[in-house]
């Protein structure tokens, strides 16, 4: 065992060394590189683009006439950043070493032996759930589009009402390690576990890929390190936490991350509010009367459209506090809302957290603690987003990143920098480290959930018929985590240039249309059975994936060509009108020719499924796929009734309500 630790320590310190060395090497060249990779896909790091703004974000080519000047970059000071990173990595490493000693049985590995308290689990759920995308993406969305960003964040909290009322306690009472355990309770276990595992692994893979690619891009942007090195660094740490420390280490990494994230958001919010004299009224007046925000709103496509229609308000500053600047398709919003409200409760890595607490009362407490943390966090995020808009201006935020993902980071540097340049560097470094810890916590939870499905459901219960001793179970879990983690790294690297923004929407869609209906029906409906579980999971999953494949999330070359044409036509007009300054002329001409090449290359192309344009107009399939998932589950169960499943309903229903005979009874 000791050798493993030594090896782990060495690999991890090598990993950190990459972080330590790269920024120095790249320092001079880092600035232009920093804005380039995100320019093409503003949505990649900020998953909020999932929200399906039907407003096309203005083609990136519209601005490159201005070369990145000093304001167009954000650089962390390596002298401050590296020590902070090392402290955090060191602290989590300590946790791993400590928890590896305690991880002896399968129950230790998957559920930390059920020894996590309600409060701890609440922080861990919050740490598991709040991704870098929600921290950076939502504050960025608010800083650029105001109210809509805030509205977008609401659903992420409301989702927990479903978790609290419908799934948390029953899952604690009736479940053991995985989603498969609950579904297999009164059904034919082998096929059910196999299908459940496939669904869990696909949800986790979609979410993990989005997180990994986001992590790579984010670290590249923040620290100027190479994308691949960033992914490998994150991947090594993630695999290290899960393989050696199992659920205990993952839980503590998540708790540490949630604490750091709340501290960072809290400190920044206080600094922002101090600028407005701690008065919320003053804060809102500052937003509505800010010249830069007014200029920014005046140029937003929606506002221009409203001007044309004659419905525009005379007060563009106030318009920033009103809905509709970004999220323009209400049906898509409702569809996303459904996927959130039902999908969060079907997310395997969230469900798994309820098996770590000893009782249903602790499970309940943990959701409530998590709700207070998550809710407070989103309210603070609003302050950060609006604060960034006031003190940095949306224009400058867009210069660094088109999607606004760097708003919170820039705010940290500016707010701290107003105290002293060192404090600015320190706060920025701290937030970078928080973002890093955030990524690690989320990906670790996902790897653990996916490997639990493979090792516990497929290997132990399907292949080995449940006959595997503790040692073999833990070994299987560790090997699977290693494989899943390595796959995550490989996929992350391979997907660098892919459009992954839709993957988070897809993960929630599958969780809400595939997993949730069958979990709820298993727990609450007497007639539910094997056929119902399988048809519900299969139809829900396939419908979600299928609808996303033909939705506007995919790349449609003809649309790319049209956008490129629009961009160069606009630039050509500017050139013709003499609006382009002579020094920027060369760059503008180059952009025009690049865009023309892009048009030629893409014109006439087809999407991945050979489509010209999307068949399904919503980015979020939930509104269609969730009812389909429920209907398939119900129909399947009614068409192939099972007497045994009906007879066993009393047992699962009593168990899930009361916790009588908890967990151990299904240990055979």
């Amino acid at each position: 065992m000791k050798n493993i630790f030594v090896a782990l320590l060495i690999t991890l310190s090598l990993g950190t060394l990459c972080f330590a060395e790269e920024p120095k090497k790249d320092a001079p060249g880092a600035a232009p590189a920093a804005s380039a990779p995100v320019a093409g896909q503003p949505a990649t790091t900020g998953t909020p683009a999932v929200a399906a703004p039907s407003v096309a974000v203005p083609a990136p080519a519209a601005v490159p006439a201005k070369p990145a000047d000093d304001k167009g970059k954000l650089k962390a000071n390596p002298k401050v950043t590296i020590p902070i990173f090392l402290i955090i990595v060191g602290a989590t490493m300590g946790v791993v070493v400590w928890s590896a000693k305690q991880t002896k049985s399968a129950s230790d590995f998957y559920t930390a032996g059920g020894g996590i308290t309600g409060t701890q689990n609440g922080w861990a759920i919050a740490g598991d759930y709040m991704s870098a995308a929600s921290f950076l993406g939502i504050s960025g969305m608010i800083s650029l589009y105001g109210y809509d960003g805030f509205m977008y964040s609401v659903g992420w909290l409301v989702a927990y009402i479903t978790v609290l009322l419908i799934v948390a306690e029953p899952c604690r009472n009736a479940g053991k390690y995985t989603l498969g355990d609950i579904l297999a309770f009164r059904t034919n276990p082998k096929p059910v576990r196999a299908v459940a595992a496939i669904s869990v692994v696909s949800v986790s893979t979609f979410y993990l890929t989005a997180q990994m690619v986001g992590a790579g891009k984010l670290m590249q942007l923040l620290l100027g390190i190479d994308y691949k090195i960033a992914i490998i660094g994150v991947g090594i740490l993630m695999v290290g936490y899960v393989v050696f420390g199992g659920m205990t280490a993952t839980t503590w990494v998540q708790i540490i991350k949630a604490g750091l994230l709340m501290t960072g958001a809290g400190v920044l919010s206080v600094l922002v509010m101090l600028k407005s004299g701690m008065s919320p009224l003053q804060f809102f007046t500052d937003i509505a009367t800010n010249d830069k925000i007014i200029d920014h709103v005046k140029l937003l496509p929606i506002y221009l459209k409203e001007l044309d229609a004659g419905t525009a308000t005379a007060d563009p500053g106030q318009r920033f506090l009103e809905p509709g600047l970004f999220l323009t398709n209400p049906l898509d919003q409702i569809s996303l809302g459904m996927a959130l409200v039902l999908g969060t409760a079907g997310m395997p890595h969230i469900l798994m957290r309820f098996f770590t607490v000893p009782t249903a009362i602790a499970a309940r407490k943990s959701v409530i603690v998590a709700m207070f943390i998550i809710g407070s966090f989103y309210i603070l995020t609003t302050l950060l987003g609006f604060g960034a808009a006031i003190h940095l201006s949306p224009q400058n935020i867009m210069k660094v990143d088109k999607g606004g993902n760097m708003a919170a980071m820039m705010l940290a540097k500016t707010m701290g920098g107003d105290i002293s340049p060192f404090v600015g560097d320190l706060l920025l470094a701290f937030l970078c480290a928080v973002a890093f810890a955030t990524i690690l916590a989320v990906v670790s939870g996902l790897v653990l959930a996916a490997s639990a499905a493979i090792a516990h459901d497929i290997y132990v219960n399907v292949i080995k018929d449940g006959h595997a001793d503790q040692h073999e179970q833990v070994l299987a879990a560790r090997v699977t985590s290693l494989v899943v983690g390595v796959m995550g790294i490989v996929i992350g690297i391979a997907a660098e240039k892919q459009n992954v923004a839709h993957l988070v929407a897809l993960a929630f869609a599958v969780a809400s249309s595939g997993n949730l209906p069958v979990v709820v029906l298993s727990l609450f409906w007497r007639k539910f059975n094997t056929a119902g579980v399988i048809s519900g999971l299969v139809v829900g999953t396939i419908a979600s994936i299928g609808l996303v494949m033909v939705s506007p999330n995919m790349t449609y070359p003809n649309k790319v060509a049209d956008d490129a044409k629009k961009a160069y036509t606009k630039l050509e007009k500017e050139v013709a009108d003499g609006k382009v300054k002579p020094e920027a002329m060369e760059k503008t001409m180059k952009t025009i020719s690049d865009k023309k090449a892009e048009e030629t290359k893409n014109r006439g192309g087809k999407s991945m499924l050979g489509l010209d344009k999307p068949l399904f107009t919503l980015k979020n399939p939930g509104i269609v796929s969730i009812p389909l998932g429920f209907m398939a589950a119900i129909l399947g169960a009614l068409l192939f009734p099972s007497k045994r499943s009906e007879e066993m309903f009393d047992e699962i229903y009593v168990r899930q309500n009361t916790g009588i005979g908890m967990a151990k009874a299904i240990d055979h």
Binding site: V158, I161, L165, I166, L281, E322, G324, L327, Q333, Y653
Partner: protein, 103 residues
Amino acid sequence: MAEKQYNWAAIAKNPKFIELHHKKSAFLFGWWIFSSVYYFLLPIGAAYAPGLFKIKIISNINFGYIFALSQFFVSWGIAMYYAHVANKDFDRLTRELVEEVSK
């Protein structure tokens, strides 16, 4: 480990369990539906009643902002209320039932 065998069907017919089941189902699904309806009023209202959302309540703070903010407090409120009822009613009934069954 010697597992105690329970007669699940008998427990399911126990009046205490039936009371627990009725109270719980009514509470859980009722409040879940309330919270969902309240939440979906937000995107629906923002899209179809923008005029309402624009009404200023205090200085520059408008109805839309307060409504979105209220979502957080309503969610927390439901969670706290549930914890209160569960601690008072559901847990007590469960405890009594478990004692009766394991006699």
